[in-house]
């Protein structure tokens, strides 16, 4: 009986000791997961490469990913959005300033708060590669730069018309899969990313990620080599197809994700199976260090900030006003300023023509005169000069 009681007491004490230990284990695993991804900021580069009204769906694709990424927390300053043509304010659009993703105009993905960084003719292969590698001219504004560092997770989304090994930009140039792989290698060597997720929605999209060789890259494509990616549904009022199938189901999947969601990459790979998409989506994870099951969707699509809670109080000092300099009134004689005459006719008529600066003769004129002189001396010789002059 005593032994039994002693056992009970021991068990009770053991339980008391192990609960906090178990609890701290639980906290540690949670903390481990929290800090496991190793990134501190998120960037997104979203590119639509097609021009012309009948490629409305490519702009809608890009804008729906933009919308999801903004909704999950990435600010506009960390998104580089490139749209090759303007569909919202196109004269063919029956509802201006809108781009719809669902038929019957259910969801306007253009919204009221969009900032497009590269638009129209600026979306070229050169600009895209310069944004990725960071080799931009010094006067480029901040909103057009990808200012990522080695702790950034970057999401890159491309859509447009493509083929086996290339993606067409604006009907006039292409980017090949080798160029893209080399650009990512440049980014890796310059330490411009921690992890990179590459999504492409074009025909034969899987060919674009075949050549990647840099570490920490994960890629998804909407169709395999030899297959076409298909568009989803037309809207009869607007008259064009609104979205591509893969991105449509991707948008539906992302609408369910919220910033605290635990959905991981394996769920993303299951988006749009062949029964819905007709093409077979593919993915590539061999270059990625972590297991895709432990990678959260919000690691790339959202911008979950790690917050450190502190219990110290910080005193804020009051702002220092600079001493106000009151100028003595009336002491100094200031001449009154005047506005300029907008059309001073008399002055314009009598305006002297600008004296053009004298420039030394151009190369062509110099060459011509040298030729004439050479021929002259050839024909007449130097000794005849005194007769001529």
């Amino acid at each position: 009986m005593d032994y039994y009681n002693l056992m009970r007491i021991f068990a009770f004490i053991h339980l008391l000791v192990s609960i906090p230990h178990g609890y701290s284990n639980y906290v540690e695993t949670k903390a481990g997961q929290f800090f496991s991804s190793g990134h501190t900021n998120n960037w997104a580069v979203l590119v639509c490469t097609s021009r012309f009204w009948f490629n409305y769906r490519h702009v809608a694709n890009t804008l729906s990913v933009y919308r999801s990424v903004k909704r999950l927390g990435i600010p506009d300053s960390h998104i580089v959005l490139m749209l090759a043509d303007d569909m919202a304010c196109n004269y063919r659009n029956p509802k201006p300033a809108t781009v719809f993703s669902h038929k019957n105009m259910e969801l306007n993905v253009y919204g009221d708060d969009v900032e497009v960084d590269y638009r129209g003719y600026e979306v070229t292969v050169e600009n895209f590669l310069r944004v990725l590698t960071g080799r931009l001219p010094p006067s480029t504004p901040r909103s057009k730069r990808l200012l990522s560092d080695d702790r950034s997770n970057i999401l890159i989304y491309l859509t447009g018309h493509g083929g086996n090994g290339f993606l067409k930009f604006q009907d006039s140039e292409e980017i090949s899969n080798m160029e893209l792989a080399d650009a990512f290698e440049q980014m890796w060597q310059k330490r411009r990313y921690n992890e990179l997720l590459f999504i492409i929605d074009t025909c034969q999209g899987a060919s674009m990620y075949e050549r990647f060789y840099s570490p920490n890259l994960m890629a998804l494509a909407s169709s395999q080599v030899g297959e076409d990616s298909l568009s989803h549904q037309p809207d009869l009022a607007i008259g064009v197809h609104l979205m591509d199938k893969y991105t449509f189901y991707l948008l539906e999947f992302l609408e369910e994700v919220h910033p605290a969601s635990q959905a991981n990459m394996n769920d993303l790979f299951k988006v749009c199976p062949q029964s819905q998409c007709v093409s077979t989506p593919g993915h590539r994870t061999d270059l990625f260090q972590r297991d895709p099951g432990s990678v959260l969707i919000t690691d790339f699509f959202g911008s979950v900030r790690k917050v450190e809670i502190t219990k110290d109080t910080i005193n804020l000092t009051s702002p220092v006003e600079p001493p106000i300099q009151r100028s003595g009134s009336g002491d100094i004689q200031i001449e009154s300023l005047t506005y300029v005459d907008q059309l001073p006719v008399a002055e314009i008529i009598h305006q002297k023509p600008k004296q053009k600066d004298w420039h030394p003769p151009d190369g062509f004129i110099l060459g011509l005169w040298t030729l004439i002189l050479l021929v002259f001396f050839q024909t007449y010789g130097i000794k005849h000069l005194k007769h001529i002059f």
């Binding site: 504004p141 901040r142 300023l337 907008q342 023509p353």
Partner: protein, 578 residues
């Protein structure tokens, strides 16, 4: 888990006046103020014209050397302030427009603007490298306004010699510091409106800016948003300068597309919102409705006793004023909505309007015609016509003719700067005296150049744009204008400084032109390479094989049974099979 509480920090404000220490903590007098107004002008065709103006006045000096840099921004947006001080900008005018202003049907706008994007800047006279500053400024502005202004370079920038005098204070008018460029192809959409709205002190959350919903604003015949920055007189005596930032948005709603065919307008129908409060940071927030043609043309409700008269664009107009800073404007429902209903039709004849078109046929030559109409019955007045034509349309200036009333009209001033291929556009400025009640036609012939194949845009069959011509004129006014500059003048009548009473300054923009350049067949190189390679491969390859290869007969290997039989025969020593 214990609650974490924010501890407030109390700061003792030292209010004693400087006997012991000279620093006083009295709050600085407000150095900046913000005014907003909306002017609604019903047009004779049943359309309605709404013009928003937001003005921030700030008396500080960005450009003064010796004073420490401005770092505290309150109402003035910081992004623009930093741009002004970094590039030593004296005046900046930028506008983004979708649509073309129809002067014949709508009269004159309060703030004119050409289709596309237009940027003209006066730099301070201390700047040494104006071109370098201009290039960097366009890049920075393209980031601020989300527009492709970085396409402005030396091939579409001009330096006008007589047009575009500064609209603000300034004594040095050396045109070396002026740069003008226009991008007629530039599209305006929500992505340009979003950063524009963010420059306002109240954003789009309070005041008149809540009406700016992009779905309604872009479903219109004309939409133009602009930013104008200039130094102006601070007070009547004009002894010191203040910086003025005006953000204007002009929009014309078409009664067929937005109005569903009915000539009846309300704020809710135009903007899908009503006003609920004025911007708390604004010192004045007013709505003006032009009722000069009331009651014959239309009726307005709710009526208001506040009326104001202003002389604008040479005409004395009466306005109903609604002051949004007073709570009774909003009534019981705390929302303010105007209603205008049309009653009749009337024709309008503006005094000055212009149009421009391309004549000719084929893809080699053409002719640009600019037609300017002076509808004043007895007064003649001068106009300054400025044309900036890209280098790929080679103008033949010896074919330039100016005719009025079918007689030759010699301009009193011509400034022509020829283009340099791929370097500089043509600039033609002429001061023409328009006879009364006449039509003046300016024609010049041109030839189209062949571009290098890399210089074509991805959609070359759309055509290439030529920017609008600018016509600056001093139009005789029917009513005497006041030359006094007061602070309480409504914003729409105080944009252009008035120097004399009998005429007002107006700028008219013509249509941009769309010309087709001879476009090569871009699939041609691909086809030629395929064909040539095929011919070479088949022809030369066969010929090469015939010459360099020798042929020998090859016996096929015998089948298995025969090989086995031969093997056995070899062992037996018997002759082999064939």
């Amino acid at each position: 888990m214990n609650e974490r509480q924010w501890q407030s920090t109390d700061v003792e404000v030292n209010r004693s006046d400087g006997t012991k220490n000279s620093e006083t903590f009295t709050p600085a007098p407000a150095k900046d103020q913000f005014q907003e107004e909306l002017v609604i002008r019903p047009l004779h065709s049943g359309d309605i014209y709404a013009s928003f103006q937001f003005r921030t006045l700030w008396d500080t000096d960005f450009l003064q050397e010796g004073q420490k840099k401005v770092s505290h921004y309150r109402l003035f947006p910081k992004s623009l302030g930093q741009v002004l001080s970094k590039f030593s900008v004296q005046e900046l005018h930028i506008s983004f427009t979708q649509g073309f202003w129809r002067t014949m049907q709508w009269g004159q706008p309060f703030i004119p603007s050409p289709p596309g994007a237009e940027l003209w800047v006066w730099f301070h006279h201390t700047v040494s490298d104006v071109d370098g500053n201009w290039k960097e400024l366009t890049n920075v502005l393209s980031g601020i306004f989300c527009a492709s202004l970085n396409f402005i370079d030396m091939t579409n920038t001009v330096q006008p010699s007589a047009s575009f005098k500064p609209l603000g204070l300034g004594n040095a008018t050396d045109h070396r510091f002026l740069r003008y460029a226009t991008l007629p192809r530039e599209i305006v959409c929500t992505e340009n409106l979003t950063p524009w709205k963010k420059l306002l002190p109240c954003g789009s959350k309070a005041g008149l800016a809540v009406l700016m919903k992009s779905e309604k604003l872009f479903h219109s015949s004309f939409h133009s948003q602009a930013v104008h920055i200039r130094p102006i007189c601070q007070d009547e005596q004009c002894t010191s300068k203040a910086w003025e930032l005006r953000q204007t948005l002009n929009v014309v709603f078409d009664h067929y597309t937005s109005g569903q065919g009915k000539k009846e307008w309300s704020l809710f129908k135009m903007f899908s919102r009503t006003l609920t409060e004025a911007c708390p940071l604004a010192s004045s927030s007013k709505v003006y409705v032009d009722i000069t043609d009331n009651p014959e043309l239309f009726e307005l409700s709710p009526a208001t006793p506040l009326l104001s008269q202003a002389v604008v664009l040479g005409d004395r107009r009466t306005y109903s004023v609604y002051d949004l800073t007073r709570a009774e404007t909003f009534g019981q429902l705390r929302s303010f909505n105007l209603l205008l209903r049309w009653k009749g039709d009337n024709m309008l004849r503006p005094l000055l309007h212009a149009e421009r078109y391309v004549a000719g046929f084929g893809l080699q030559t053409g002719e640009i015609h600019t037609v300017i109409y002076n509808n004043h019955p007895y007064r003649a007045f001068p106009v300054l016509l400025m044309d900036s034509v890209p280098w790929y349309l080679q103008l033949y200036i010896h074919t330039l003719t100016v005719t009025s009333k079918s007689r030759d009209n010699k301009p009193s001033y011509i400034h022509y700067q020829p283009a340099k291929d791929r370097h500089r556009p043509h600039l033609l400025e002429m001061l023409i005296q328009l006879p009364p009640h006449s039509m003046t036609e300016v024609t010049v012939q041109f030839e189209r150049a062949l571009l290098k194949w890399t210089e074509y845009t991805p959609d070359p069959n759309h055509g290439f744009y030529v920017g609008s011509s600018v016509i600056s004129a001093l139009v005789p006014s029917m009513v005497a204008m006041s030359t006094n500059f007061t602070q309480d003048q409504p914003l729409f009548s105080s944009f252009v400084p008035v120097k004399e009473e009998s005429s007002y300054f107006v700028r008219v923009y013509t249509e941009p032109l769309l010309v087709n350049l001879p476009t090569p067949d871009f699939s041609m190189p691909y086809n030629v390479i395929c064909l040539t390679c095929t011919v070479v491969a088949v022809g030369y390859g066969s010929f090469y094989n015939l010459l360099t290869r020798t042929f020998q007969v090859d016996e096929p290997s015998p089948p298995l049974a025969k090989r086995l039989a031969n093997f056995i025969r070899r062992i037996r020593g018997v002759p082999l099979l064939a």
